[in-house]
């Protein structure tokens, strides 16, 4: 298979600044969010962002194994990010790569500030993230989904965490890069924020950017995060509306029966 390398000749923008998938520079890919998609997990969520498809499940707070990892004053939050072997063009080896190890670490660190870990000393909160299909921006989509899964599990949170990348393609700053844009663009800047607290919990960058371009990209990424935060809120609120509807239906049936 012939792959195109970074900074090659491939054009990512049309003359009127439209992207390969027809998006404008500041436009997110279509996003679908669901919560409570798994039956056994304490909390779960599913995200589709463009062609990326990712599941997140939360187990805990629960007993920590091995016990020597337990922290006397707070819970241990551990996220594990894994890609399915079929999630990318060439089959990925099922063994965890160094990339997956690093991403597990930075995803954990992006969520930890939002969780009231001190409420659960010695306990473990495990977040399992499975990438079913990868099309760029999976660390950000994973954080968005994992944060929803934590909320779905009823774990006390200071804030949701919403994540979105911005980057540079054909020399222009663009929001939410797809895989082909990431590979052929000049820079990628994944960001996660706690929107109510106005704090940044994930910040990575690779590529080439001037300081001015960085500031433009960072501000664009934060705007993307805020839009995603609104979608996260909506799907959580809808979850409780659905529960309310079910409960009131049940009780009215019971009333009829009685």
């Amino acid at each position: 298979m012939e792959e195109i390398q970074g900074n090659s000749q491939i054009r990512l923008l049309t003359e009127d600044n439209l992207r390969l998938d027809g998006r404008k520079l500041d436009e997110l890919r279509p996003i679908k969010l669901e919560v409570g998609v798994l039956s056994r997990a304490d909390g779960s969520a599913y995200i589709e962002q463009g062609k990326s498809k990712i599941l997140a499940a939360v187990y805990g707070p629960r007993e920590l194994h091995p016990r020597h990892l337990a922290q006397p004053d707070e819970a241990l939050l551990q996220c594990i990010y894994r890609m399915a072997t079929f999630s990318v063009d060439e089959r990925k080896s099922p063994a965890p790569s160094r990339r997956e190890t690093e991403l597990s670490k930075v995803i954990t660190e992006s969520l930890a500030p939002a969780v009231f870990l001190k409420y659960f000393p010695r306990a473990s909160i495990d977040v399992y993230i499975q990438v079913i299909q990868a099309d760029g921006g999976t660390r950000c989509s994973s954080i968005t989904a994992a944060s929803l899964a934590l909320a779905d599990a009823g774990i006390p949170l200071r804030d949701l965490v919403a994540a979105c990348a911005a980057g540079k393609i054909d020399g222009k700053i663009a929001l939410d890069l797809s895989d082909i844009e990431d590979k052929n663009g000049q820079a990628d800047l994944p960001v996660a924020i706690m929107p109510r607290k106005k704090l940044t919990t994930l910040l990575q960058m690779d590529g080439f950017m001037t300081k001015e371009e960085f500031i433009e990209a960072y501000e664009l990424a934060v705007k993307g995060c805020q839009k995603i935060y609104e979608m996260q809120r909506e799907v959580l609120i809808q979850k409780y509306i659905n529960i309310q509807d079910e409960v009131s239906e049940e009780s009215s049936e019971q009333n009829r029966g009685g």
């Binding site: 160094r98 660190e109 704090l199 300081k211």
Partner: protein, 272 residues
């Protein structure tokens, strides 16, 4: 993750000092510890460097081998970075395969070198699709007294700048290495700078005690033309927008100083 247990009283002491813009080792917030760089300390390696940053010591060795390129980059050589947190460096390091901290460190050092295009990898191709130079950049942490990111990055860059590989000839599709040695094709030099966020302050080049109490850290990498080439926030705290912009600004001037003071002499030495 903290590298040692730290008492409540020490935490409070460090935090109260920082709130007054002071530090345990009497540096100001924007002072870097003294740096020494010695290159060529391992004769059997193609390139090597020992960096001390205060009490932190790191040794990097570069080994060059001829191997096959990755199928998606048939005309490019390969650089791979790995980090070893050996048990002699800290009572909290254990023997065994690299843990997630070692993986993160190696990948952030790698990112600066790769994204700045420090080494012209296409010039390391010997026979397209078949034979290329593979550079193994191995980072050994010898003494962990804080800020492994900047010490390792500086050591890796210094080792690469002084790396020599044999000239090669191709005869009947076979690669012959000659006795004559040549420097690597260097295009750019990334310099990294790390800050610890402690309460509302950013402390440049944190020592271990400060890392143990910090909320989080941020590493920023600039190239020779003042482009940002890599960034990494680490640990379980959060940053404000002001923190980020301040770090980006400070790093811009401070990486320039490091470049002039510590990298220029190596380049001069190499040029002669």
């Amino acid at each position: 993750m903290p590298h040692s247990l730290i008492s409540e009283i020490e935490t409070k002491y460090i935090r109260s000092l920082v709130s007054k813009e002071k530090r345990v080792d009497s540096r100001r917030l924007n002072d870097i510890r003294p740096i020494t760089i010695e290159c060529g300390i391992v004769e059997k390696a193609n390139g090597s460097a020992r960096v001390t940053l205060g009490n932190t010591k790191v040794i990097v060795g570069v080994k060059a081998e001829i191997g096959t390129p990755y199928p998606d980059t048939p005309n490019s050589g390969v650089i791979t970075c790995a980090a070893e947190f050996i048990p002699m460096a800290s009572p909290y390091f254990e023997p065994g395969p690299p843990n997630e901290e070692a993986v993160e460190l190696a990948r952030v050092v790698d990112r600066g070198i790769r994204e700045s295009k420090m080494v012209d990898l296409e010039k390391l191709c010997i026979i397209p699709n078949e034979k290329v130079w593979i550079l193994f950049v191995d980072i050994y942490i010898i003494d962990h007294a804080g800020n492994l990111f900047d010490a390792s990055s500086l050591a890796a860059v210094s080792a690469l700048l002084t790396t020599k590989i044999p000239r090669t000839e191709v005869e009947d599709g076979k690669v012959k290495t000659l006795d004559e040695r040549t420097s690597l094709p260097i295009n750019n030099i990334p310099i990294s700078l790390t800050f610890a966020k402690i309460d509302d302050q950013l402390c440049v080049d944190p020592i271990l005690e400060e890392e143990n109490v910090m909320d989080c850290r941020i590493t920023i990498v600039y190239d020779v033309n003042n482009n940002l080439v890599a960034m990494q926030k680490g640990e379980r705290g959060a940053l404000t927008t002001q923190d980020i912009y301040k770090a980006v600004d400070l790093a811009e001037t401070m990486t320039k100083e490091i470049r002039e003071k510590y990298i220029s002499p190596i380049l001069k030495q190499e040029g002669s």
